[in-house]
Symmetry: C2
Subunit: 289 residues, 2 copies
Amino acid sequence: MRLAIVGLGLIGGSIARAIRSNRSAAAFDSIVAWSPSGSGPAAALADGIIDRATTSLDDALAGADLVVLAADPLTCLDLLDSIAAANRAGDRPTITDVASTKQAIVNRANQGHLAFIGGHPMAGREVSGYGASRADLFLGRPWVLCPGALARPIDFERVEQLVGACGADVHRLAAREHDRAVAGISHLPLALAAALAQAVGDADDWPIARALAAGGWASATRVARGDVTMGAGLAATNAPELARRIRALVTQLEDWLADLEETPDDPQATALRIALRLAAARELLGPAD
Amino acid sequence: MRLAIVGLGLIGGSIARAIRSNRSAAAFDSIVAWSPSGSGPAAALADGIIDRATTSLDDALAGADLVVLAADPLTCLDLLDSIAAANRAGDRPTITDVASTKQAIVNRANQGHLAFIGGHPMAGREVSGYGASRADLFLGRPWVLCPGALARPIDFERVEQLVGACGADVHRLAAREHDRAVAGISHLPLALAAALAQAVGDADDWPIARALAAGGWASATRVARGDVTMGAGLAATNAPELARRIRALVTQLEDWLADLEETPDDPQATALRIALRLAAARELLGPAD
């Protein structure tokens, strides 16, 4: 199988590394990579992680059996349009991607009549770029697959070989279910972390507060230190689900306000109400990993 | 100086360990500890961390020069009342505490005419209890001091020796300034983490979402896995400041909703607006630690 990776940052680079370090991934005969700047492919070629770095997207796609779009969601939409425009009869590679939203991307692939299976490996780091890539990034993690309308058995076979070579576990979901789930466990936490940073960081006592910030603050704001373009792309391509989740969260915060303000002169009674909320949250979270 | 520690969990135990492992902490002649269950003091005595474990609070206080209340905020309020009731003329030990809110506690100490300096070491772990205590917990961390109305020079001297023996840095603040700051960097993140867990965990697709949760979710909900009584006590004793911070956060989330929903058919435009928010948040957070 000839693999083309389009975009060779954290995720694309980690896929190439995983395949190269996995001796049982014999199905992959060659890996070619392209990226807009070319710096990731050049470094990966020097590292012996890929077979060929190319400066032409067309060249990367020519002859590929499996194409992995390893870019942010909005770039994936554009790439699908380009591939659909160039698609020739009889030359139908399997296309997959690794972006964090799926419905908009699957729709676009369907419009372009592509043999597409959307993918989302549930792994990441706050750092980005090829330099941060790791062969074990996906090990034991879920890798969601959301098939497009024109996906063939051969497409499933190829994409599942890719997921298997990365050591991840296939979770097949409808794109809509996927987007709803990640709006809750991934996009809402990002929005919250950014909103928290702005709500507290824009207040006039930020210099005092910042000097006291400890591990809890660092943990609560960690995801807001990630890549801005990536974050904006996933929020924008999952806007209705994210908005629904934000509204559910605001409802929770209104309950907090009611509990905090019901008995201003009786902190013991306030504490009892808040303890119920905290205990319910802890119960839902389950034991720490 | 004879030191009495009231409550010997994570913080009280870490104070005792820090003093015992610090050779320059020669000012501390003896450490006696009491806790409601007695299990922390018994273990610490066996570990050689304290000189005496007692089953009587009165006995722990008798003859102490410095008393550290190492309990949750609401328990500290009760302890201050007990100490004030037992206080005899001519026998005025320095009292300090380590609770995460200060205004309510300083007020109560003033009402009891105690020689009090409120304290808050800005360090912690999600685990609790004496077994989790560590000698280096406070190393290089800020330790806020909020003096009561009747604090004498000798009280500052003693409490600053304690902070120094723990390797922490004194930050002197008015109780109100402290409470406002920690409402932002500590209590709001706790409320948010719990609200996030309930908003997402109570939705009907939680089993699907939970299976996909990765590092971002774990990080965003981490502080909601902490001690429930402690969390409820700090929220209840800092309710007005926390409520103010929650309202500021809801305002931010309303701005997110407006940005997400302004151009439903133009994800590129949505992404530009969200990118501005994420970039502003990142700028406020500064470089990662």
